[in-house]
Symmetry: C2
Subunit: 264 residues, 2 copies
């Protein structure tokens, strides 16, 4: 079994970052992937110290990106600094949807690629790999118009060293080219591997993700593909669940994540 | 402007097929694409006569497919007969989701391809082209695990003459390979072109489609792509809208469809 990392979004409605770090220690979860607002609330220095003191691996910082918004550059440069301070294995990029008021996907995508290219020298200098996360096509308009692994890897190839992908099963499980594109990505480009499950039915486009084992994603198969590509990192659990897991006792959530690793 | 065809799902909550045929005549809409349950309710022979008498072009029959369900073969053979009786330009295939109780996309997809191959000789004999409709990835589990135009065209190539695609903007607008795959499809393989719009936000994964102009799809651009590929057929409006258009006066819906052609 690949070890577990907790993306802090999974219990963000119940716990502060300090409580989440304690929870990880208590449940012997060895990896964490915090969100920037939670880091800011605790204070960057405090967060870094506390994570280090608890021996947690920071499998990613969520998130940079949104290159189609105003002020994308300064915000991304700050995100790189924060990822560096936390010793994060990567900065996850949710790249942003359509340009405001526009229907022009091509132009939006071009601006995104230019944006990643513009911050890449800073990321390289800071030693922070950038992880493009292709999001599910149902989130193309609002959150990310990079929507397949193939598209993300084309950008990685164009931009060169220092940028790879975050493979989140929720976003890519349906893709007929998933296996071949994971192979193409290889060890070099798979910077993070995120797990959860796809519920049937799915009641909300953003916040109705399932716990591993409760949905239809063949998690062991996809894990074998990323392992065959050379990935040796954590399995990061990231569950947005307004209707279920965000309402539960967070200790139960963490216990369940660990117990469900048999389905991964 | 490409002429308008009305997919009868657009007003199915308000009108019977007989009423829809009358409505098309009244609003000078020259194409129709009926659903099989509506045809059955009116009677196949009555439906065919009424459609012919009103001079309507049948741009498609909805739908065959669901090759991962029980009894898929007999049902599809009946659908081919009905499409033939109606003089439909194609039988639209919603191919079906995961096999019951399975998480195996590969196996489900293989069964779907085999199923299309199995009915294809019957469709050829009847002179009914089969139109594979790739559905949006958010509908992969339950309705269709053919989810990109590229994937559908690979199947068309493997199976040969008599099978093409239905390009529905709702399902494919986000695809970074859309333009190149429309070009690849060409006049030969584009059997139908369906329009509506993608709403922001989208409140339901199945029944929250928008009227043309109310969402973010760059409809003129996609139309130009299908025209450049050689498509000379109708623009078929298909709107599933539990929350809005299915609640309105159907005459208003048809008027609006016509008025919104300027956005297409």
């Amino acid at each position: 079994m690949r070890p577990l990392s907790l993306n802090t979004a999974t219990v963000r409605k119940q716990w502060s970052l300090a409580q989440i770090i304690d929870g990880c220690a208590r449940h012997d979860i060895r990896g964490i992937s915090p969100w920037r607002d939670q880091v800011a609330a605790l204070g960057l220095k405090n967060a870094a110290t506390s994570i280090r003191d608890n021996g947690l691996t920071v499998t990613g910082l969520c998130r940079g990106g949104f290159f189609t918004a105003e002020d994308w550059k300064d915000d991304n440069l700050r995100a790189i600094e924060e990822a560096h301070a936390l010793g994060a294995q990567c900065l996850v990029l949710v790249v942003g949807g359509l340009l405001p008021g526009s229907k022009d996907l091509q132009k939006s995508r071009a601006q995104i690629e230019d944006g990643i290219g513009a911050i890449l020298p800073h990321a390289r200098k800071a030693g922070v790999p950038l992880a493009i996360e292709p999001l599910h096509p149902m989130q193309a308009a609002e959150r990310a118009c990079i929507n397949t692994l193939e598209q993300a890897l084309d950008i990685c190839e164009a931009l060169g060293e220092g940028v790879g992908v975050a493979v989140d099963v929720y976003h890519v499980w349906w893709d007929p080219k998933l296996e071949s594109q994971i192979r193409r990505a290889g060890k070099e480009n798979i910077l993070a591997y995120h797990i959860c499950d796809w519920l049937v039915p799915t009641r909300d486009l953003l916040s109705d993700r399932g716990m591993m084992g409760d949905g239809v994603i063949d998690l062991p198969r996809i894990r074998r593909w990323v392992e065959a590509a050379g990935y040796t990192g954590f399995q990061e659990v990231e569950i947005f669940s307004e209707l279920d897991w965000w309402k539960r006792d967070p200790d139960e959530v963490l216990q369940t994540c660990k117990a469900r690793l048999v389905h991964c």
